[in-house]
Structures are given as structure tokens and as C-alpha cells.
Amino acid sequence: MPAITTTHLKIGMEVHVELATSSKMFSRTANIANPQYYDAAPNTLVDPVVAALPGVLPVMNRRAVEMAMMVGMALGCRIARFTKWDRKNYFYPDLPKGYQISQYDLPLCADGELEFPVPEASDGTTRRVGIIRVHLEEDTGKLSHELPGGRPYHGSLVDLNRAGTPLLEIVTHPDLTSAQDALAFARELRNICRFLGVSEGVMQRGHMRFEPNVNVLVTTDDGREHATPIVEIKNLNSFRAIRDAIDHEHHRQVEAWTSDGIVQAPGNKSTRGWDDSNGATVLQRQKEEAHDYRYFPDPDLLPVVVSDTWRQKIAARIPELPIQRRARYRRELDLSASDALALTDDRNLCRFFEESIEAMKAIAEAKIPARRAGGASAKLLLNAGAKRANERGCPIEKLGITPTQIAQIIVLREQERIGSTAADELFGLLCETDADALTVARSNNLIQVRDQGRLESWCTEAISAQPNAVQDYLNGKDAALGRLVGQVMKLSGGQADAKAVRAGLVKKLHRE
């Protein structure tokens, strides 16, 4: 048998996004994907339409349609002028109607692309993945097989709170070529949805579910190519699961092909689930005739026609998206690609960052150029901020420090009134108080002493306390100076201006 020379992954994504409207897709009961209703008790967000009581009629949520249009536009899709609703028929206890309302042949949005930052590139390189379609449908209820508290149950338990939540289905071309890229795509899509304000994108709550379609192109040393059968991995709802499941499929499919030689053919696509605890994909039993959905236009719903005026009105609501923001941060603020990426990872952090720069402009005496201000704020947020956010398990912008206080720290630092260690400490202190940075720095003795008299006396004291260091330094060991600087910093309680100390020591030592 010819040996394998290369294997290439080919991945297409199907993504479901729960929209955070206030009410459901086809009725006006509260939507569990909206933060206000996250903790609703089971079966308290159900109405006659969701429960499919006789005689009810669905009425579409305008906001859901508009949110779907926003996502379509952000992904560069063509927005259909005419779109309609279809019934996808199947019996399952998570949908009392016996069908899901979806869009079959006339989706709201089609033919777009998503540009995402290449994770391993430090220069801001991006890749693109084609979007086939974006359509609206409704989410289903939830089934569980355990009672609250983990008690086993002989049957299945149905909670219909989630049924009828507006659900966006996004389908990509199989343009992704690695697990890392699939992950970067997923993160970017989540960012876009969050920036648009259409979804909270909380993965643990199932706001976004990813279903990669994966196969591998195996090339052998006889120059032939063999495509493995396509596997759809169902319902991944964490970034780690996306990466790990695709990596696992890559290896598994190559191994399977090596042992059985089966290649992609009509009808041999299969479905697998991700077993997180074993780190492996598992074949799922196919429900008989699962794909016989007998789609037909829903007679209960009227078509939607999107006029130019409506389309333009929605287009005007689209904010600056993460990728544009990153480019601007790099262009206008000189941020590195990785800093720009870290800041745009979250809409709220991004706003907080921009507010701190605005606050700096408001401190007239500061006169810090935007480039310096941006770099300084990014550094402070992504070091002092990220460190504390990690420790406390809370987002940087919610640590308690305000954008104005951030600006004040930066101003003190720019004026060389505080050192870098003091800036970090001050950051921590300001998370706990509304007082201004200068007051807090003063009362905690963080302001650098540059008074020549005091600096000199500390230097003299350090020199007499560390005769060995002095000798080493005079013998040409420049590193010994660091020990003397350290001594002065200790004597000053960290308040001495390190730069001035260094200069003062050198001057003194050379005089001796």
C-alpha cells in the first residue's frame, strides 16, 4: 500500500446563534437568551403558541428579523428582497408542534464571507471563509434525563423555555483548513455577534452551538488523493471542544482510511458527538429517516419583503466591527496585533479602553498624543488589569476602576511621578475606591521622590551599607549597580525615581 505523504483538513461550519431579543421568534413570551430571563424556572416561558395549543397563530418578531439582517450585512451577505417561512416536519418532544419553523429555499441572507485574524500571525494577517447562507428559525425545548439535583429518572423531562427562541443558522463553505482556524473563525463570529448586540454569546448557556463538517484529503506517495467520508460533529458549545473535536477527527479519519480505505461517497456522511471526558468523537445512532423533513411553506406565516428603505435603516445600525477596530487601533494608536486582538475580544473591554483614551483627552494638562495614550492604556489594561481580572474571575472593565482613573494613572506615569511598580499597585488600589489617582498615590506614598537632597542621602546610605557591591562595581562589574539601586529603593520604600537613583549612584561612585 502506498505511504501517506500529506493529510489536509477540510472543514465547513454550521453555527446556531440564539438571538437576544426580549420576546420569542413567533410569540411574545420572554426569551430565555435575553439576560433578563436567564434564570427563569423550567416551563415558565411558555405560551399557547409554543405549547402548540389548537387554534393559535404565530406572529413574527420584527426585531429578530432585523438582527438577522444585521448579522447578514456584517458578513457581507446579500439580503433577500423576498423571503418566506417553511415547516421542517419531525416528531420530537422538544417541539410540541411537530415541526420547526425555518427557512428552506429562500433564506434571508446569502453569499457572504467572514474575515478572521490568523491566530499564529503576529502581523495581523487574516483569512477568509465563505458564508453560504444565514437564515432564521426557532430553537427547540430542552430534554434532560435527570431530575434536578442529579436524581435519575426513567423517562425524559421536557423544559419548553427555550422553544421558540429566535435562532440564526449560519452555514459556511468548507474553507477552513485547521482546528486553529476553525477556532479563530468561531471566536470572530462570536465577537461580531456581540459587537452587533444580537447575542450575548455565552457559550456555557448554549447561545452559540457549532457543528463542524470535517473530512481529510489524504495524499499518498503515488501522487493520488483520497477524500475521507464527511463527518458532522454535533452541538459543540465551547471553543476548546471545537479545537479538540476537529483535531481528534483529523487523526481518527486518517487512521480509519488507513485501515478500511473507505472514501467519501454519496450517502456515507455520518454524525458524531463529542465526548469531552474521553476526548473523543463518538458515532451517533442515526434516527431512521431523520432527513425526511417534508419541508413546505408555512401557511400560518406571510412572506417578508425587505424594501431598500428598511435595508438602509438596518445597515445604518451596524457599528464598527472588531476587524475594522483592530485595524484602526494598529493604524491610529500603534498597538501591536496581539494587543489589538486582546482588546477587541470583548465589546465591553473595547468600549472601556476607548473611554480611557477619551478621558485622557479631557485631562488638558496631560497633552498626551493619542498614540502614546493608546499604547499606555492597552498595556495597563492587559497587564495590571488582566492579572487582577484573572485572579478575581471577573472582566477587566468590572474590576471597579474607572476609565478616568486609568487615564489619571497614565498621566502620573507620563509625568514620571510614579514608577511602573507603583502604577500597578495604584491600579489595584483604584479598583477599591472612587478617589482620584493622585490622592491615592500620595496617601500610599507612591509618588516618586526626585528631591535631590533626599536622593543623595539614600545613595550615601546605600553605598556605606553595601561595600561589597561598591567594590564589585568599581572592579568593572556593572551588574553590581543593580544591588545598590535596590538598596536605595528599599530605603525609600519604593518611592525613589529609579532612573534618578541610578544616575545619582553612578555620579557618586565615580567621584570616590
Partner: protein
């Protein structure tokens, strides 16, 4: 167009209907004649006729996104043949719901 009994069994299974042999034969005859009728309509020349998504000419019946009252839970649960805790109870189904 004549349907065979396996096709009737397939459709019945999709609709969760358990049919007797007499019923299978009855529906085979009835559904076949319905399909014959549709086939006749299918012979019409409809070149240039726009497909109709809905018999009404109305479009864009959209509601504002304003929350209204939900069904009280006890009312909902009272409608179900079987209830457990605050859930509707059904015979055990496999994991991995379709969506």
C-alpha cells in the same frame, strides 16, 4: 401514479400512525388518487408564472418585540398527560436532539 404498500408504511411511520392492513390498503388507494390529481395539475404549462409562497398577497406581518404574559405553569402542566417535578414527562428518548 400508484403507491406501493411500503411507501404507505413509510409515510405512516413519519406521521407516527399505526395502521392495520385494511387501512394501509385504503390509504394506498386514496393517496394514489390524490397524487394522480396533482400530476394532472402538474401537466399545466406554468412558464413565466411566479411561484406562490402564500395564497394571500399580504406581506410583513411583524410584531414589536414587547414581552407579554406567559402561560401560568400549572395551566401548562395540567395539559400534559404526564408531569414530573416542574417538567413535562415523556417516554425516554435518545440523546442528541435534531435541530
Amino acid at each position: 401514479m400508484t403507491l406501493d404498500l411500503d411507501e404507505i408504511r413509510h409515510v405512516a411511520r413519519l406521521a407516527r400512525l399505526r395502521l392495520s392492513d385494511q387501512e394501509l390498503e385504503l390509504y394506498r388507494t386514496q393517496l394514489s388518487s390524490i397524487l394522480d390529481h396533482i400530476a394532472k395539475i402538474g401537466e399545466l404549462n406554468v412558464d413565466g408564472v411566479e411561484p406562490m409562497a402564500h395564497p394571500s398577497d399580504l406581506t410583513n406581518r411583524l410584531d414589536d418585540d414587547v414581552v407579554e404574559e406567559a402561560l401560568p405553569r400549572d395551566v401548562l402542566l395540567a395539559l400534559a398527560p404526564e408531569v414530573e417535578d416542574s417538567f413535562l414527562s415523556v417516554p425516554k428518548v435518545l440523546d442528541g436532539a435534531e435541530s
